[in-house]
């Protein structure tokens, strides 16, 4: 029982991590580097979009990602009785 609880907990955790890291990769290496030139055809205010992702947007998303992970894991800890 205890072992299988730990196993499902770990699997869920890995799922969250992979999902969040995929977003992490997309906004920085994707939008900020690989697809920068395409995105630069669009503008928000004075910012070319690719440039904005590289120098602003990706960092904001990073902060959000960590806090989302904190929330997800606090819930998951509770669900599995690991929050003590």
């Amino acid at each position: 029982m205890k072992k299988s609880n730990a196993k499902t907990y770990w699997k869920e955790n890995i799922r969250y991590v992979l999902l969040l890291l995929a977003i992490w990769f997309l906004v920085s290496f994707g939008a900020g580097i690989l697809f920068k030139d395409t995105l630069n055809n669009f503008k928000i205010g004075g910012f070319k979009l690719g440039f904005w992702f590289a120098q602003q947007g990706s960092m904001y998303v990073f902060v959000v990602l960590i806090f989302v992970y904190v929330r997800l894991m606090n819930k998951l800890d509770k669900k599995h009785g690991y929050d003590v």
Partner: protein, 574 residues
């Protein structure tokens, strides 16, 4: 009226003495209040730091003289390419929060070599880890001491060496007395000082140039002169006019930008002085949360820096380019005497030509001036100019202290207690820790006063070294139960050796007596970006060697299962 007369009467110099004096008194006061009484307090601040305090301390620990003084300047010359630092030095925190911090906190020891040594059940692994930690930390700390000296010499008119010595004494006082406990709470104060000192001039200048008080929005806005032109479009125009690459495009190849960003992210997550901060909180959930708070506080400065870069560059080009030398503002002459800005009238027309073509360019600008002189270029009040000095010192001192602690813990805990003399008493170990801190300060001070020519080159590469050594070993240790000592040691050795060799060949040029041309770089990847390749090598070698060698013992596999579960994280112990 009286007030403003009084304020204007003080002058930049006295303001600087007042602000630096107050902040130093504050740091010393905190150190006396929070001195360490046990090794646990000395290494991990007793293990009961709140997530908010740890987040602030981590942010100050992380943001060095380079972040505060140099980064905006580097970006203002690199344009788009500067994004490698912005994304690289923040994206690593996502890796830390998701892949490292919670598990290392659960593991509950004092240092990174502690984890490597126990998880890989091997003294050799521990020694390799100690070597890597010392290599990374020493290259880094020398740069900080130099930074302290430079700020002193530029703002307080003492020479650089005296500046380094004053800085050494301050750090010595609170790092040796307070250990991690003293450092943590001084770093909290230093974060407040440095962020205030960075934001105030940025907000002033943003209002001046774009009418928007939020710099992050201002630099994407229209100019305040009513022309309806976007600031970035104007800067792109100015840059191409003078023959530079368009500001928002940059000039590095895409693969190199990719590689450098990755190396800096992974390196950040592998830096021992950052990782060790997460040993100081109470629970696993606090480790995750404080990583989030730390990144939020770091991004406050990091998202402002590219705005400062744009403001400063536009301002500078407009103020000096094609202006007669006799008519330059006062700040130009003042900073000319420090050698940070220089003008040689090549065509003898008395006018400053600032262009990309090196044979015609007459203006040499040090990148540091973009932050240091920025308030003066924008004619801000004296107290704002003085604030920059206090902020730069806070940034340099907080990082230096964090690094010194890693060095002293590596020596007193990982080498003396765990390898040379396991029977040493608690009291003896605490004395050893303090003595190693003293020794480390002296070595760092020596390199601050006599910087070897290659220090600057090597500091940027400390990230590559961390990426190539610690990151894969820690990740595999947590996420791959089957990973054994043979694999991890082979991986670390191959990773760090390949990084060192590439650096020596392509950055320092010691093999060929000249630095080889960048056409010879492997896959077009610069030494700064090679950390990502060395990291991949480390992973590959680890896995291949592991497949050929025995599985780790059962009790080690139990450790791995245990650190994956957050509950029951005991306080850090031996």
């Amino acid at each position: 009226m009286m007030y403003s007369l009084f304020v204007e009467g003080i002058g930049v110099q006295n303001w600087t003495y007042i602000l630096v004096g107050i902040t130093f008194a504050l740091y010393i006061g905190i150190a006396i209040w929070s001195r360490a009484g046990s090794t646990k307090e000395f290494y991990v601040a007793g293990g009961g730091v709140s997530p908010l305090a740890n987040g602030m301390a981590t942010a100050a620990d992380w943001m060095s003289a380079a972040s505060f003084i140099s980064m905006a300047g580097i970006i203002s010359f690199a344009g788009y390419d500067g994004a490698v630092y912005l994304m690289g030095w923040t994206g690593g925190y996502v890796l830390l929060a998701l892949l490292l911090a919670p598990y290392l906190r659960k593991f509950g020891k004092f240092t990174v070599p502690d984890f490597i040594g126990d998880r890989y059940y091997s003294k050799t692994a521990r020694i390799v880890a100690v070597f890597c930690a010392l290599l990374v930390s020493f290259t880094y700390v020398a740069g900080q001491m130099r930074g302290v000296g430079i700020v002193f010499s530029r703002f307080l008119e003492v020479n650089i060496n005296s500046g380094v010595i004053i800085g050494m004494l301050i750090v010595l006082f609170y790092a040796v007395l307070g250990g991690m406990k003293g450092i943590t709470y001084t770093q909290v104060a230093q974060y407040c000082v440095l962020i205030f000192a960075f934001m105030v001039p940025a907000i002033f200048i943003s209002i001046q140039m774009t009418g928007n008080p939020i710099p992050q929005l201002g630099f994407g806005g229209e100019l305040a002169d009513g022309s309806g032109v976007y600031l970035l479009d104007k800067l792109d125009g100015l840059s191409t006019e003078l023959g530079f690459a368009e500001y928002t495009e940059g000039s590095k190849s895409m693969i190199d930008v990719f590689a450098i960003t990755l190396a800096l992210m992974v390196g950040t997550a592998g830096l021992p002085h950052v990782i060790v901060r997460f040993f100081t909180v109470k629970r696993v959930k606090d480790a995750r949360k404080s990583a989030g708070i730390a990144l939020l506080l770091i991004v406050l400065l990091y998202s402002t820096a590219p705005a400062v870069a744009v403001f400063a560059r536009t301002n500078m080009i407009e103020t000096v380019s094609n202006q007669p030398y006799d008519a330059v503002p006062e700040w130009f002459k003042k900073w000319e005497t420090t050698g940070l800005i220089g003008f040689t009238d090549k065509n003898e027309d008395g006018v400053i030509q600032y262009v990309a073509d090196k044979s015609k360019n007459e203006l040499v600008v040090d990148r540091d001036i973009m932050v240091l002189a920025n308030p003066e270029i924008a004619s801000l009040p004296d107290w704002v100019i003085a604030l920059v000095a206090a902020g730069g010192l806070a940034a340099a001192l907080s990082t230096a202290a964090g690094l010194l602690l890693v060095i002293s813990a590596s020596v007193s805990h990982d080498l003396i207690k765990k390898i040379i003399n396991p029977k040493i008493s608690e009291k003896g170990e605490l004395i050893a820790a303090r003595l190693s801190a003293v020794g480390a300060v002296c070595v760092a001070g020596y390199f601050g006063i006599n910087p070897p020519g290659f220090v600057a080159a090597v500091v940027a590469l400390a990230f590559g070294l961390a990426a190539a050594s610690f990151f894969p070993a820690i990740i595999l240790g947590i996420f791959y139960k089957r990973m054994n000592k043979e694999g991890a040691i082979a991986g670390m050795v191959v990773g760090i050796t390949s990084m060192l060799l590439y650096m020596i060949k392509y950055k320092l040029g010691w093999f060929d007596e000249v630095v080889p041309h960048q056409n010879e770089w492997w896959f077009g990847i610069s030494p700064e970006g090679f950390g990502s390749i060395a990291m991949i090598l480390n992973f590959l070698v680890s896995v291949v060697v592991m497949k050929l060698t025995p599985v780790p013992p059962d009790e080690v596999q139990d450790i791995v299962e245990n650190i994956r579960i957050p509950s029951g994280a005991e306080e850090a112990t031996h």
